[in-house]
């Protein structure tokens, strides 16, 4: 077998989909299960070109339902496994993700958001926030990272595998069509060269020893017969989730000290907001930006602290209020008004953000 995919560090200029494939190879992922849908296809294209060189596997399934469930199978066999999808494919994959939530299966799913509802566009949106964060039936728990640069796509794809296996919650990297298709500079690296140790995987099925003689068999199920039994299982999951959430929640802040207007945005829209901040600062405006990196769990305490002091919160997103719902929930009870700039399925520029902020000042 060939050596490491990346020795040390390397500067690269590549598309987001290529970045994800490189990150997965670098993160020692064993197997990808996938089904074509735009705009994530090149993740599979690059993976299938690299995988054989490093002894990794790939299966192109018959649909996203199957891709989700075969990925679960890969994890059950104890392999670092992942899948990627978008739009209607994300919808289909939620069935498997729901099972992963119930059974605490460390599955990783990369989502490159496209327009919706339904087929919509294959280009870009931030309209898969609600589904990616809350797509399962019941109230399962899952971790969702929203990336804004190619560097983050690389960093958080690697991190997703470690967080998933450490905490045993299904973990998502939420990108978008812009990130998928645009090229950008970044540093790719061997995780070990930065002291990142990949969390070891272990099988849920097919372990050593004769079951029933040397050890108990592993009997995994997600069906429960009584209300009390289900109550116990779900309460246990949620208790564990609440304990873990503060350790997992990530965010970034820009110029938030003393900000009158607190702009909240995630993903690539963060970049437009940062551009706007620069201009607004030059104009002497008191504007800050809070960016949740994890959309689930959201860094609630930190966000409340900033929102409480602001005169107004402005939520900016390429969807019709999906982020706003998360923010409203997180800061419930504060008297700070929430304003929005919503562009479902359309990109947002720094100039537009400046204009929106100026309307509020």
């Amino acid at each position: 077998m060939a050596g490491k995919p990346i020795e040390g560090e390397k500067r690269a200029f590549m598309t987001g989909n290529e970045v994800v494939a490189w990150a997965a190879v670098a993160a020692d992922v064993d197997i990808m299960y996938g089904y074509p849908i735009t705009p994530q296809n090149e993740i599979m294209h690059y993976w299938t070109r690299m995988a054989p060189k490093y002894g990794r596997e790939f299966l192109q399934t018959e649909d996203e339902i199957s891709a989700g469930f075969t990925t679960i199978g890969g994890v059950l066999a104890g392999r670092r496994s992942f899948t990627a999808t978008a739009g209607p494919g994300n919808t289909l994959m939620q069935e498997a993700m729901s099972m992963a939530e119930m059974m605490r299966i460390p599955i990783v799913q990369v989502v490159t958001q496209r327009g919706g509802p339904s087929t919509a566009t294959v280009i870009y949106s931030q309209q898969e926030v609600t589904m990616t964060c809350f797509g399962g039936n019941g109230e399962g728990a899952r971790i969702v990272y929203s990336t804004s640069t190619h560097q983050e796509l690389f960093d958080y794809t690697i991190k997703a595998f470690n967080i998933a296996w450490k905490y045993r919650f299904p973990t998502f990297v939420l990108g978008d069509g812009y990130q998928s298709k645009m090229r950008e500079s970044l540093t790719i690296y061997d995780p070990e060269s930065r002291g990142i140790k990949m969390v070891p995987t272990e099988p849920y099925m097919g372990n050593e020893g004769l079951p029933g003689t040397d050890r108990d068999p592993h009997h995994l199920r997600n069906t429960y017969n009584t209300e009390d039994e289900l109550y116990g299982v779900v309460t246990d999951i949620m208790k564990n989730w609440e304990k873990v959430a503060p350790e997992v929640a990530e965010y970034q802040e820009y110029d938030v000290e003393g900000a009158d207007v607190l702009i909240v945005a995630h993903g690539v829209v963060t970049r437009a907001v940062q551009g706007a901040l620069k201009q607004l600062k030059e104009e002497g405006k008191n504007v800050g930006h809070f960016r949740p990196i994890t959309l689930r769990p959201i860094a609630e305490d930190q966000l409340r602290k900033r929102a409480e002091k602001a005169k107004v919160v402005l939520v900016v997103e390429s969807s019709y209020g999906q982020l706003k719902k998360l923010i409203t929930d997180a800061i419930y009870g504060l008297s700070t008004p929430i304003k929005t700039f919503l562009k479902p399925g359309e990109g947002i520029t720094a100039e537009e953000v400046v204009e929106e902020v100026n309307k509020l000042l």
Partner: protein, 250 residues
């Protein structure tokens, strides 16, 4: 003098008596499967997946690592396991609804790809656990909760011929058979051959087992058996449909 019942070694005694309805065929299919596993001595490396529906009651049936998944999704879960660890012997266990209706795309594609797994499908001509609705395998004229006047093939189609379909779309290295709980000895032979086909790395292995559902059929013991032995084989022919490099039986 009482004689203890003969149970396969790989059965998990703690979960017996099993939870299937009295007269259900699942117990017989699982007994035949258990004996086949014992005889092949593969308990330690077998993984067992079951569906939603009556088959899910088998989730803790064996002293074998098992996973219960969603309706129709057992085939991809076991495919995923086997692809990730080809050393294991993967069994996907499901009913006719899981295999021929909601999960048919998975069955068709796993068969087409010649996945090295063994699928065991129990055909009882109706949806048992949800209360006896029409299944793809319901016989013409058969009454169910959603075909209360008898299945009308003009509007609902003919019973799915599963093994025939799988045999048609698999390569020569696949194994395909249909057995019945009314001939457990033969059924066990089919299951054993299906597992051997996987062990030798040949390809996809598929066994349909005709079985009874006296609860939803509303039949007594004698009538249940009559339906299994007389009505079902008229549509679903018993025997081996595909045996790599060997002589078919039946």
């Amino acid at each position: 003098m009482s004689v203890a019942p003969q149970m396969p070694k790989c059965w998990r005694l703690e979960t017996k008596v099993h939870k299937f309805c009295p007269g259900c065929g699942h117990g017989l299919v699982l007994k035949a499967l258990g004996e086949a596993i014992d005889e092949l001595d593969i308990q330690g490396k077998t993984v067992f997946g079951c569906d939603i529906g009556c088959s899910l009651l088998a989730w803790d049936f064996f002293n074998i690592d098992s996973v219960q998944t969603h309706h129709g999704r057992t085939t991809p879960v076991i495919t995923g396991v086997k692809r990730a660890n080809p050393e294991l012997i993967g069994i996907a266990y499901m009913g006719d609804g899981g295999g021929y209706a909601i999960g048919s795309q998975h069955l068709v594609n796993a068969a087409s790809r010649n996945e090295k797994i063994t699928v065991v499908l129990v055909n009882n001509t109706n949806y048992g656990m949800t209360g006896g609705q029409m299944a793809p395998t319901t016989l013409p004229g058969q009454k169910t909760e959603t075909s209360p006047y008898g299945r009308d093939v003009d509007s609902t189609g003919n019973p799915t011929q599963g093994p025939e379909m799988v045999a048609a779309i698999t390569p020569e290295s696949a194994y395909v058979a249909r057995g019945t709980v009314s001939n457990v000895r033969q059924l066990k032979k089919f299951l054993k051959r299906a597992l051997e086909n996987q062990i030798s790395g040949n390809g996809f292995s598929f066994v349909e087992a005709l079985s009874g559902c006296p609860t939803n059929w509303r039949t007594n013991a004698a009538e249940t058996w009559k339906f299994i032995e007389e009505a079902m084989p008229q549509y679903f022919k018993i025997g081996e449909l595909k045996v790599p490099g060997d002589k078919k039986e039946g």
